[in-house]
């Protein structure tokens, strides 16, 4: 009897935690982005408090990961402002957070936003992933640059030699 009572309490607590975990939702304004390496793009996450109590002390954090195990990703390179401390969210209130990201690697990536409480063990709510396809950088015209990078110093060199000879 005692054991079943404890189980009942555990179930109620689990249900309560589950309910509080679902009190927040995080959505993104788009599901995919196609861009070129080096370019910046912006997306908006919408954090909604669907519960009946005010949620305070929340932090939103941006994460980046590569689909390819061979590609190293340093999220700091993608965004220097990845952590946002959010104001209190009243019941049924939503908050829009804009993120600007620079694609610094080429390939397929996933970007998502996680929202968690600043203190305590509370649940982490994550957004669906934003799938980012980053195209390789097109190098500039390497053949066309040679006449320029060789020609200008050559012209100045000729002028310097000519001036020196005339000075003698």
């Amino acid at each position: 009897m005692k054991r079943s009572g404890l189980m009942l309490v555990a179930v109620i607590l689990a249900a309560w935690f589950a309910a509080s975990a679902q009190a927040l939702t995080v959505g993104l304004d788009r599901s995919s982005v196609e861009t070129n390496i080096g370019h910046r793009f912006t997306f908006v996450s919408t954090i909604a408090n669907t519960g009946s109590t005010t949620e305070s002390g929340l932090v939103a954090h941006l994460n980046v990961l590569s689909d390819d195990p061979g590609v190293y990703v340093d999220p700091e390179d993608w965004s220097s402002n990845r952590t946002r401390y959010l104001p209190a969210l009243a019941p049924h209130q939503t908050l829009r957070v804009t993120w600007t990201v620079q694609a610094v690697n080429s390939g397929q990536f996933a970007v998502y936003v996680a929202v968690l409480p600043r203190h305590g063990p509370g649940p982490i709510t994550t957004s669906p992933p934003l799938r980012v396809a980053v195209a390789e950088r097109r190098t500039l015209n390497s053949g066309g640059v040679l006449p320029l990078v060789l020609g200008i110093p050559a012209l100045i060199g000729v002028a310097a030699v000519g001036t020196r000879r005339r000075g003698r």
Partner: protein, 264 residues
């Protein structure tokens, strides 16, 4: 008995500037410095245009990097010219004849300053084709060149004033040049702190105080982030103030220009 009064010619600074420009550009020193400058820009441009592994991510950043190097090194050439202007004459023993010439000392310094500034103007002209090559196709060339000329001119004026000020009081080229470079590095050092240490008001202040860092920061905002010239204009306060103070200091020190260094 006839008395001949040697009065200074009108616009003597133009005569001094003309003579100094001839010495600098026909003597070969200016062209040698420009050749070294163009070689540096050639290497930079070749790497940014061809090497996809380098972290030069997009065309705007390539333009910005090359432009920043052109502006910074072009302005440093002015420092080399200005730091040599008076202490060099002193070191070579030719300052005495200059001081005896019927020219106000102020005009002497102005003429030498103009010659030093010509190094920046020529460096900027040399950098135009490189910036054009990297920035064509993205409508960036005019903006980049305009912003680069503005920042580079402010920095060149600052370094010309600083170089002339130090050169007028230093006994030798070595002293004036080393003190000028030391001051530049002292300004620049805080900007090399880890990015975490640059956050907050102290880090922001360090970058804003240093004319080089703040000027180049503004340049990056215009070229990379496509901001308008006026959007981050407060970042130009430091180069403007530094240029004004350095030029005033140089002109003030010109009044006390003496045969020996240290005002002796």
């Amino acid at each position: 008995m006839t008395t001949i009064a040697l009065s200074p010619p009108r616009r003597a600074w133009l005569i001094v500037a003309g003579q100094e420009l001839r010495d600098l550009w026909l003597g070969g020193r200016g062209l040698a410095l420009t050749l070294a400058f163009s070689l540096l820009l050639s290497v930079m441009t070749y790497l940014t245009a061809t090497n996809s592994v380098l972290n030069f991510l997009e065309q705007r950043e390539s333009v910005n990097l090359t432009l920043q190097v052109a502006v910074a090194v072009g302005a440093l050439l002015v420092l080399l010219g200005a730091a040599d202007a008076l202490s060099g004459e002193r070191e070579r023993g030719t300052l005495e004849s200059l001081l005896l010439a019927p020219v106000h000392r102020l005009e002497l310094v102005v003429g030498k300053g103009i010659a030093a500034l010509s190094l920046w103007l020529v460096a900027f002209a040399v950098s135009i084709p490189y910036i054009w090559f990297l920035g064509r196709g993205v409508g960036l060339v005019g903006t980049a060149l305009g912003a680069g000329f503005l920042v580079g001119s402010l920095l060149a004026l600052f370094l010309a004033g600083l170089g002339l000020l130090l050169s007028s009081v230093a006994g030798s080229n070595r002293v004036s040049l080393s003190v000028a470079l030391f001051l530049l590095f002292a300004f620049f050092a805080p900007t090399q702190l880890p990015s975490g240490a640059q956050q907050g008001w102290a880090g922001d202040l360090f970058i804003r105080i240093d004319p080089f860092s703040s000027g180049l920061h503004w340049l990056g905002k215009v070229v990379v982030d496509a901001h308008s010239f006026s959007q981050d204009a407060s970042w130009l306060a430091s180069p403007v103030v530094a240029a004004g103070l350095a030029l005033l200091g140089a002109l003030g020190a010109a009044r006390f220009l003496a045969l020996r260094g240290g005002g002796q």
